[in-house]
Amino acid sequence: MSELSRREFLAACAAAGAALKLGPYALDALAAPAGAALSIAHFRSSPQDPAAIADEARRLTREAVNGLGGMGRFVTRGDVVWVKPNIGWNRLPEQAATTNPDVVATVVRLCYEAGAKKVIVSDNSCNAAPASFARSGIQQAAQQAGADCFILDERRYRKSAVNGKTLKSWDVYGDVLGVNKLINVPIVKHHGLCKATLGMKNLMGIVGGERNRFHQDLNNTLADLAVFFRPTLVVMDAVRVLTANGPVGGNLADVKRRDTVAAGTDQVAIDAFGATLLGLKPQEIGYVVEAHSRGLGAMDFESLKPRRVEV
């Protein structure tokens, strides 16, 4: 499918989908065979050696995705995939402000194994992008895994009709709108305003413009983004979590090991699960409640009978 006709196709789908209130990637996901909605992989031990932690992250990611039926359920041959980790901050991986680079690299590899034609890894960083991409280790890890990891071009945002409750029209990164699949790869962190930043908050890295205004109505703006994007898959990094002074952190004492990676198709459920890793109840997270009330997913993630595996 050429670029142009894909756009036409999407436009037609969007028209149809708008009536059904589906995001741009939801149709592709709907086409995939049904399966488990949430899969949680937990490591039995908590190794300290960096190489062992890297290995743990890789294995947990694979097990979590396998628990959903494998990446082949989401990515098909010839797909162009956008893997969206948290590369927001100029921090080291150990400071748990950005997604674990080994989790990201594994997601990239799984996509290629499932037959993806191209995998893009990028994020609209809050700190200076060259520094954030480098210090987080994600640029190197993603490139080694064969992904196209580049810093976003400030001129390529396109005004898009988000048509949410609060966000009507907003700048979305142009290239994102042209890919087949979107995989959200957040890390679980404390947040001063909304208590926890999880998957839906991570979607802020795909938009541009004055995002600093979202916080005046964070519950609705994040739910709007979640409805608009509807990522194909969410892979949640909880190998390390940031328990205080988030989302930037800095103090290693605020980083705790949870040795967990979760994968899911239900954005609300996986965020609800992530909140529990910080000792919070899903009801305490405003945007989780809002998204649940819009029918985007199930806040009570246990009701989805998540597949749990000990690694």
Partner: protein, 314 residues
């Protein structure tokens, strides 16, 4: 007999100027974030070899950064051999040189514009003023140092303009997406843009305040070359003045063949430094060793040679 082609020394000098200018702009582009938290290597190289920076820094603050001692090499070379630095190395000088070549064709006018003027002494007074201020703790040499001037002008002015123009042009093609038949121009422009983005362009467009003043001064410095060749180098540059003082009595001096010379003064026409290579009397402090006089002389009467001190003068 009449020399019709340019002397090889002049070609070598031009090559040297090109290479050092390229090095300067390469180091400029390297002055950027490298993973992780590293500025490029050796980006200060030109400043380390700049004796004006060393001298002013030391006089004003009584301390020196060790790396600046490399500039003693520049001073020593100039003391021994003359102001080759200005003619062969200085990138700012090379730019002035480039703009100077676009002047009058008429030899008579060129001679009038190139011969020594006593106003060339002004750079020494400027240097002295700056050093006196340094002695009282105020170091304003940065306003006049050629590397500072050039780096500042490039960083605050030229580079942001170039970055903006490049991104705007390629961005326009990307958005408008024109094509001929089924061929889209973006298939060519996008890969080129990617290369530029990776190696030349800035990650985000830089913006600087108060650039109008810098633009006016930069433009003035460059445009004055149309009035007098290498205006900055002759009349303003305090580094040139410092090197002129150091290079007062160099070992490489002009050698004129009195018999062959017919006083046509063509050697003066292209003299970059205003050093009077003709019978008026060569001024070593003003000579850049550009070899234009040697190249221009139709009678092979002018050249440069090692000069035994106190021995036979020209």
């Amino acid at each position: 007999m009449a020399r019709s082609k340019t002397a090889w020394q002049v070609w070598l000098r031009r090559l040297s100027q090109t290479l050092f200018a390229a090095l300067f702009f390469y180091l400029f582009l390297q002055t950027v974030y490298h993973p992780v938290n590293q500025a490029g290597r050796g980006v200060d190289l030109f400043f380390h070899f700049d004796p004006l920076v060393l001298l002013s820094s030391w006089i004003a603050s009584h301390q020196v950064v060790a790396a600046l001692l490399l500039s003693l090499i520049t001073l020593a070379v100039t003391f021994l051999f003359g102001r080759w630095f200005c003619g062969w190395i200085c990138p700012f000088g090379a730019i002035h040189n480039l703009l100077t070549t676009g002047r009058a064709r008429n030899a008579k006018r060129r001679i009038a514009g190139s011969e020594y003027s006593r106003w060339q002494k002004s750079k020494y007074y400027i240097l002295f003023a700056l050093l006196v201020a340094c002695a009282l703790g105020l170091n304003l040499t940065g306003w006049f140092d050629p590397f500072s001037f050039l780096f500042r002008g490039t960083a605050l002015l030229l580079y942001p303009m170039l970055d903006d123009a490049t991104k705007a042009s390629f961005g326009w093609v990307y958005q408008a997406d024109p094509g001929v038949g089924s061929f889209k121009f973006t298939t060519v422009t996008e890969p080129v843009y990617e290369v530029l983005r990776r190696h030349v362009l800035a990650t985000t467009q830089p913006h600087f305040t108060g650039t109008l003043l810098i633009a006016l001064l930069f433009a003035a410095a460059l445009l004055l070359n149309l009035y007098r060749g290498r205006f900055w180098c002759r009349y303003v540059c305090p580094l040139g003045a410092l090197l002129g003082v150091a290079g007062k009595n160099p070992l490489v001096q002009i050698k004129r063949n009195q018999e062959a010379c017919n006083n046509c003064r063509l050697c003066v026409a292209d003299c970059q430094g205003g050093a009077n290579p003709d019978a008026a009397g060569w001024k070593p402090s003003e000579c850049f060793y550009c070899w234009n006089c040697h190249s221009a002389c139709p009678h092979d009467a002018v050249t440069f040679a090692i000069h035994v001190p106190g021995g036979e003068q020209r």
